[in-house]
């Protein structure tokens, strides 16, 4: 597979910086073999990234690709740690981002606060100007006022500015003129224009996205520049690629301009990795279940396409409307607390023991029972984790379950542990149901990719509950997200509002509109250094029944010659997603979009010969399974010693450095060519 001219040491490196750990995935270009490293995240995340690369035994000069997912932008938004920014808006609309849509996610708690806008009122300045709904300038930009505002910005020493004018999605002229005046007076300020960032109708959503972009621009821009220069100093010669929420990457050249696209970077990586793992095992339909210590991320991939949403936010009320891979996060993880409420019902989460004090079995002072403790009590988790680096105290776990659950409910500790996990699994199954069945997907057509530290312990039980026939556990469940960063192309999404009844659409005008979007996409890819022959454009039309509010997206061929197919596809999609369609009702186009992709050279992952050799357990421990009336002495396998083609027959446990896999009775786990473990779950 390896082509000539590639050094044996050449590697692709992907790095996922999380809140606690920095995960590194290293793929040897010649052998296709992957190995991983995990180091603590550092105060300046760049140090952690470099430490991780070193820990992985890689020299920067040997990297032929470096791709990076990071929660930097998310954290900056949550903590409000970003340099001061100013918003300039149309007179009369200073408070659009503070008024928001005015609604709340918590409906009943009058003492729960809403997050504050990213830019304070004192930093929101106004100018006279107005564009109407049709794009006509009804009030020209007051140039004197604009200069005054720019001068104030100069006096305040602010370097990043959001320019958000009413109806600018229809006509960007006033926003652009404002930008030029600002550039005259404050040449080193970076401007984010709502008509560039997200040229779509609805002021709050557009302004909010633009404001998020403006406050993140200096954070992301300086981080990207520093990271790239450290990389280049060390001998890495290619682009530093940054994973964005849409599931593609950007180079550092575009990252500052579209900084808010990085806001869901960390979450997207897991979903992409999950798709890859499933496809490598031969499944184009997959549900990703990434279960960590405090929460679980669920994603869905249908025929190779991850679901995408435009309704995304870091804090409720402040949407960031760039297309983002749809991930449903629920408060259920290994550390979620099991508790009895006032009416004696057994609850699970969303509170979590977190990493401090952590589950009771960690022996760091936690006394409340968690899912992790339940797994320890049942013997599903060994008392030694991470190859012996962490030891778990079964006595403490037992005590926590006894006092917190078993005692109050009058059951044995073992039954209490089973009960705790049953509730936790049911909550996760409900989340999967919301993303799958509710959207018209039948779980029986999917494979469940179970990863994150805790996913492989729960995967089989969840699959059985949901009638999912196959569970896949990737080779390194705890660092799978990092893998996601390795696998993607450069991608930009460009959109245009196109509100028109399908019956009134001029195909020529539609084609012209798509071409304009492609020109914009091409321009962005060129800025990224993508050559024309590696550019791919995909066209999409969002449609809805005339009178409806929400639209569904369908792909159309290029060039557009007729809308018949797209309309038929829309009816079908509505039928699938919402249980019904209205074939006789008029259909309206809402928005056009083009996904502009710059193809990167794909890595080749090693495939291993399947061998016919029996797997041999390394030890046994007493484990209680849901299906059996009592704990039994169960074979325990070391994953590192399981080779492609080997089979493990349940009941069995498979331990590995960063996770533990539960193979229920009657289930056979098989190691496939890419070392993923495949469990086929007999349907109940």
């Amino acid at each position: 597979m390896a082509s000539d001219g590639i050094a044996d040491t050449a590697v692709r490196v992907a790095c996922d910086v999380g809140g606690t750990f920095t995960d590194i995935c290293i793929l040897n270009e010649r052998s296709g073999r992957m190995h991983v490293a995990k180091v603590p995240t550092t105060a300046d995340p760049i140090e952690g990234v470099l430490a991780g690369i070193t820990a992985g035994g890689v020299a920067l000069k040997d990297m032929i690709l470096f791709s990076h997912g990071t929660t930097l932008a998310t954290n900056a938004l949550i903590t409000r740690r970003f340099p001061p920014a100013v918003m300039i808006t149309t007179s009369g609309f200073r408070d659009v981002i503070e008024i928001r849509r005015g609604n709340r996610d918590d409906l009943w708690d009058t003492y729960k606060e809403m997050a504050k806008p990213y830019i304070r009122r004192r930093d929101r300045l106004v100018v006279e100007e107005r564009v109407d709904y049709a794009g006509t300038v009804v009030v020209p930009l007051d140039e004197a006022g604009a200069r005054e505002v720019a001068t104030i910005i100069k006096r305040r020493g602010v370097k990043t500015v959001a320019i958000c004018f009413a109806n600018a999605y229809m006509n960007p002229a006033n926003e652009r003129r404002m930008r030029d005046i600002l550039a005259d007076i404050v040449p080193d300020a970076v401007a984010s224009l709502s008509s560039d960032i997200m040229p779509e109708i609805f002021e709050h959503e557009r302004f909010s996205t633009t404001v998020a972009n403006a406050v993140l621009a200096p954070v992301v821009g300086s981080y990207a520049r520093r990271l790239e220069s450290r990389m280049h100093d060390g001998g890495y010669q290619e682009d530093v690629l940054l994973l964005h929420s849409g599931g593609g990457v950007m180079t550092t050249r575009m990252a500052e301009q579209f900084a808010a696209r990085l806001a869901a970077s960390g979450i997207a990586a897991g979903a992409i990795a999950s798709r890859f793992v499933a496809e490598a095992a031969g499944f184009t339909n997959s549900i990703g279940l990434d279960m960590g210590g405090t929460s679980t991320d669920v994603s869905l991939c249908d025929h190779g396409t991850l679901r995408v949403t435009k309704e995304w936010f870091v804090e409720y009320g402040y949407p960031i409307c760039f297309p983002s891979i749809e991930v449903l996060t629920i408060g259920a993880g290994g550390g979620s607390l099991a508790w009895i409420d006032a009416a004696n019902s057994l609850r699970n989460g969303p509170q979590s023991a977190g990493s401090s004090p952590g589950p009771a079995c960690y022996g760091r002072g936690g006394t409340s029972a968690t899912n992790c403790d339940a797994n320890v009590v049942l013997g599903r988790l060994s008392d030694r984790l991470a190859g012996g680096k962490v030891s778990l105290d079964r006595a403490l776990a037992t005590r926590a379950l006894e006092s917190g659950v078993a005692g109050p409910l009058g059951m044995s500790v073992e039954d209490a542990a089973l009960a705790v996990l049953k509730v936790a699994n049911a909550n996760m199954a409900d989340a999967v149901r919301l993303l799958s069945i509710r959207r018209g997907y039948d779980p029986r057509d999917f494979a469940l990719v179970a990863f994150g530290g805790a996913g492989p312990l729960h995967g089989a039980a969840l699959a059985r509950d949901l009638s999912i026939p196959v569970v896949l556990v990737p080779p390194n469940p705890g660092v799978t997200s990092a893998l996601g960063c390795l696998l993607v192309d450069i991608q930009h999404d460009v959109t245009k509002m196109y509100l028109s009844n399908v019956a009134d659409v001029s195909i020529d005008y539609l084609e012209e509109s798509f071409r304009e979007l492609e020109i914009e996409g091409r321009e962005r890819l060129r800025n990224e250094g993508v050559s024309d022959d590696r550019m791919v454009f995909q066209r999409k039309i969002d449609m809805r029944y005339l009178g409806q509010w929400r639209a569904l997206s369908t792909t159309v061929a290029s060039p557009v010659t007729s809308l018949d197919e797209a309309v038929a596809a829309f009816h079908a999609e509505h039928g699938r997603e919402h249980n019904y369609s209205r074939p006789d009702a008029p259909v309206e186009i809402y928005r056009l979009s083009v996904i502009a992709t710059g193809l990167t050279t794909k890595a080749a992952f090693a495939e291993f010969e399947l061998i016919e050799e029996a797997a041999v357990p390394d030890a046994t421990r007493s484990v209680r399974f849901d299906e059996l009336p009592q704990a039994i002495e169960t074979p325990v396998y070391d994953r590192d010693r399981l080779k492609a083609g080997m089979k493990v027959v349940g009941p069995a446990m498979i331990d590995q450095l960063d996770s533990t896999i539960l193979v229920p009775p009657g289930v056979t786990a098989e190691v496939d060519r890419s070392l993923t473990i495949v469990m086929r779950i007999p349907l109940a």
Binding site: L107, T110, R121, A166, S345, A419, V423, N579, Y580
Partner: protein, 671 residues
């Protein structure tokens, strides 16, 4: 209680309870994604799973507050009307306010849930249809004298029979509205949402067995009952009482209309007695039938216990007595009640907040702005043929200040905080109405040691209109959003046309079909929240921060808070407190403020007419209410308003909120 039921283990119970939450939320998600009514799209809808008796097993976690406590009534009405004649595949529709509905727009689709041939319960999807006919677009007819003028009353009616849509019936309903195609679309969207619930329940039956599912329906209600009783039992017994006001009964001259709420906690129950409220219905549509009133009682109480799920178990613990029929809170056929949400509902909710502030001072909250609803309808001069347009609008506003915290700014009404505003860019496409301003209104937050949340000013210009009128449904232009524990009121609601121009008109807070011309500017504020605690106790540094952000003007900082703020450099947002002047100003206000509230109201009104005093001086300093357009004194109203201030505000002056909160607990212990 779950664990008491030997046949339903606590784990299965918890799993099923969560599954029911999941099901009603799935219904909500489906409606939100497929609806036609922009009102439903703004989240004015609710969903419920009911048992075979019609009692609620679970209500949507995102439901509008004004619908809670009513879905079991409408389900029971359907059961009563079709007893013995309910079949798999049937779907019913009902919006009857005299059978437990809220107002006619809130139309409920009810589907029986069958497993094989056994009726297990009902799924209900309720949504605010944009129009249900009647005399005015949007079916909010201020001038209705009976329900015929409001819109189509739908008594329990079958719309699907054994899986077949009864198109003639649907057409009849849709044809009596102004947007028949949308109504058909919404009916289908709601019916499909209830189908989701039926499918999910059947799946659970297959998995857990019929007996378990049927038992769990009751167990989930018992669970909520137990939780609620425990919380109430932990509170001391006692009787508390307060009153709030609707602005006026247009048929009875000026004077505030009282809504009186007495709350009794005894043992593990809480009972509300509204029987001493204004004894007759008023001659506007700001009346409530029992459904609307009970919704307010349930929602107001639920806000004290945010973590308790809502179902009929709650209604076994929280009870009410509305007194004789025919009162403003217990209207009967054929009284119009579409405005219940602006009238009694708001007043009952805010009264309940005030009562609970005595019991749980740590969760105290002053009054919140009033729900409003403005409609401009006419012909769109931008289009050939001047097609009909309707521009509906409602505001978000300020919530009451709280113990230790300012109120929320620009938030949905107590009617339901998920009721989002509409984007003006969307509105401008659909109507010749250009938004000129959509901004927080300076000084709208009621002053207090903790400030009420900010209200919003929205002003719109008619660009090219033809035969166009404006109507408005609100309240509290006179019964101004009040402060608590020494806090001051915010600002009055009310619509102005061309303010400050020669053709200025003040239209008030309740009117319909007033003509407009191209070029007219129609503007109105939403009130801020009332203040909590004596404003002279507010930290001067916080007042200065409010001035920097433009929430409070320099002028009102001095008048309301006694804080003198100096501008250093406005461009750099630099201001500072003049501490010495502040001390003097606060001393001056303390010495005089009680006397200001007793000054001759007619003299004060005359100064308003002469431009020497402004609206906020009258309300906050003198407790005087006038007709804001003409300046004519409203003598009865002023007397009542001043009495209200003497009760809610004056006794607490000179005390910090921390001290008042402690006193409240003390009062409680001796109650």
């Amino acid at each position: 209680m779950a664990s008491d039921d030997t046949n339903l283990d606590p784990v299965t119970f918890e799993v099923l309870k969560n599954a029911y939450v999941n099901i009603v939320d799935q219904m909500a998600e489906q409606i939100f994604r497929t609806c036609y009514s922009f009102v439903i799209y703004s989240r004015d809808f609710s969903s419920a799973l009911c048992d075979a008796q019609g009692d609620t097993i679970m209500q949507g976690s995102g439901d509008i507050a004004a619908h809670v406590g009513t879905l079991h009534y409408t389900c029971k009405a359907v059961i009563d009307h079709f007893r013995g004649d309910v079949h798999p595949g049937d779907v019913f529709v009902i919006n009857d306010v005299y059978l437990g509905g809220t107002h006619f727009n809130d139309t409920r689709i009810v589907r029986p849930i069958f497993y094989r041939d056994e009726l297990l319960g009902f799924a209900q999807a309720n949504g605010h249809w944009a129009d249900v006919g009647g005399a005015v677009p949007g079916s909010f007819n201020v001038n209705a004298i009976d329900h015929m003028g409001e819109g189509l009353r739908i008594t329990p009616t079958r719309v699907w029979s054994k899986g077949v849509c009864l198109e003639d019936v649907c057409r009849l309903i849709a044809s009596n509205t102004r947007a028949p195609a949308d109504i058909i679309g919404d009916m289908q969207a709601q019916a499909e949402a209830t189908r989701v619930a039926e499918q999910e329940i059947c799946r659970l039956v297959e998995k857990y067995g019929l007996p378990t599912i049927k038992r769990s329906f009751g167990a989930v209600q018992d669970y909520v009952e137990v939780l609620t009783r425990q919380r109430i039992a932990a509170l001391p017994d006692g009787v508390w009482e307060t009153e709030d006001y609707i602005d006026v009964d247009p048929g009875s001259g000026e004077g505030l209309v009282p809504i009186r709420v007495q709350m009794t906690i005894r043992g593990d129950t809480v009972h509300y007695d509204l029987s001493r409220s204004h004894p007759k219905t008023i001659s506007s549509f700001l009346n409530a039938c029992f459904g609307g009133s009970f919704a307010a009682v349930v929602a107001g109480t639920k806000m004290q216990f945010p973590e308790i799920p809502l179902n009929s178990g709650f209604y076994r613990v929280v009870t009410m007595d509305l007194g004789p029929e025919g009162s403003v809170v217990n209207a009967t056929w054929p009284t119009p009640v579409a405005g219940f949400c602006s009238g009694p509902f708001e007043k009952i909710m805010n009264s309940i907040f005030e009562l609970w502030a005595e019991i749980m001072p740590e969760r105290a909250m002053a009054c919140t702005f009033n729900l409003d609803y403005l409609l401009i309808g006419g012909r769109d001069g931008r289009q050939s043929g001047h097609k009909y347009f309707m521009w509906y609008d409602w505001m978000v506003g300020g919530w009451g200040a709280r113990n230790g915290r300012d109120g929320w700014a620009a938030t949905g009404p107590v009617f339901g905080v998920q009721l989002g505003t509409q984007p003006f860019e969307g509105q401008e496409r659909l109507a010749p109405v250009l938004t000129r301003q959509n901004e927080l209104r300076v000084d709208s937050g009621g002053p207090g040691e903790f400030r009420g949340g900010m209200g919003v000013e929205k002003g719109v210009v008619m660009t090219q209109i033809d035969r166009t009128v404006v109507s408005y449904c609100c309240d509290r232009e006179r019964s101004v959003t009040w402060g608590l524990w020494g806090g001051l009121p915010s600002i009055p609601h009310g619509v102005w046309v061309n303010p400050g121009q020669p053709n200025e008109r003040y239209l008030g807070s309740l009117f319909s079909n007033v003509g407009l011309e191209t070029g007219d500017l129609v503007t109105r504020p939403s009130a801020g929240g009332g203040g909590l605690g004596d404003p002279l106790e507010r930290d001067a540094a916080l007042v200065c921060e409010d001035v920097i952000d433009g929430y409070v003007s320099i002028e009102r900082a001095a008048k309301d808070y006694g804080v003198v703020v100096k501008e250093i450099d406005a461009d750099l947002a630099q201001y500072e407190v003049d501490h010495q002047a502040t001390l003097a100003q606060r001393t001056y206000i303390r010495a005089n403020r009680l006397a200001w509230l007793a000054q001759d109201a007619e003299v004060i009104a005359a100064k308003y007419r002469a431009g020497e005093l402004d609206m906020l001086d009258l309300i906050r300093t003198h407790g005087v209410i006038v007709h804001w357009g003409s300046g004519e004194l409203l003598a009865n109203t002023t007397r009542q308003f001043r009495a209200m201030l003497m009760r809610r505000t004056v006794p607490y002056w000179g005390k910090s909120v921390a001290a008042v909160g402690k006193d409240a607990s003390v009062t409680l212990q001796t109650a």
